[in-house]
Point group: C2
Chain length 120, copies 2
């Protein structure tokens, strides 16, 4: 289960590491679109866009459906929950460490002031 | 500026797309560590760990400092703000679309019930 989540996070963060793919997700956040629409919007060949769409689909971030000659793309159901959870958990750890560092610096400043007052 | 953020997001999401590198960030969330410590913890050669550390450092997620023969790694100052912001914005869009879909389904159900009552 843990291994499964790790593999999924590998795939989804990798899918997110490209500005065009992030743009496609933003675009699909507004409405579904065909690969032709997406290729036009991002000034790209159909082949290039198909590759990006394939990576997003494999990562489970979008789904596609072919009706006749048109393949329509829509957002997948997962909505980046695991990715957001990982980043949030990590940020909390990170902030806790910076707060501890802040407290340490404040503490040192207070001690320094006390010593100065004693000397003065 | 926008281009700069996009390039940074490319690098940081790419850095996050590997379970070992996410593990290194989690480990550094608890305390600073040398590359040797990290290589041991993740059962990896020094060369392999140096490569991962280099990718995390280039993405601005960690900083390293060499004192004598030991290179110490610590979390960078950015704490994944931009990455969290991108994912949050995207999730909001996504949820809004699913809510709109839910409302549509509810609406259809209500209409259906009303029609059934009229017939009955």
């Amino acid at each position: 289960m843990v291994q499964f989540t790790q593999t999924r996070l590998d795939a989804s963060f990798s899918a997110l590491s490209d500005a065009t793919r992030r743009g496609v997700l933003e675009r699909l956040g507004r409405s579904d679109a065909s690969i032709t629409d997406l290729a036009e919007k991002f000034h790209m060949t159909l082949t290039g866009m198909k590759k990006h769409v394939g990576i997003l689909e494999q990562a489970g971030l979008i789904t596609t459906e072919k009706v006749g000659r048109v393949r329509t793309c829509k957002l997948g159901g997962r909505a980046l929950q695991d990715e957001a959870a990982w980043i949030d958990k990590h940020r909390r750890l990170w902030e806790a460490r910076f707060e501890a560092l802040d407290r340490l610096v404040e503490d040192m400043k207070r001690k320094e002031k006390r010593n100065e007052r004693r000397k003065g």
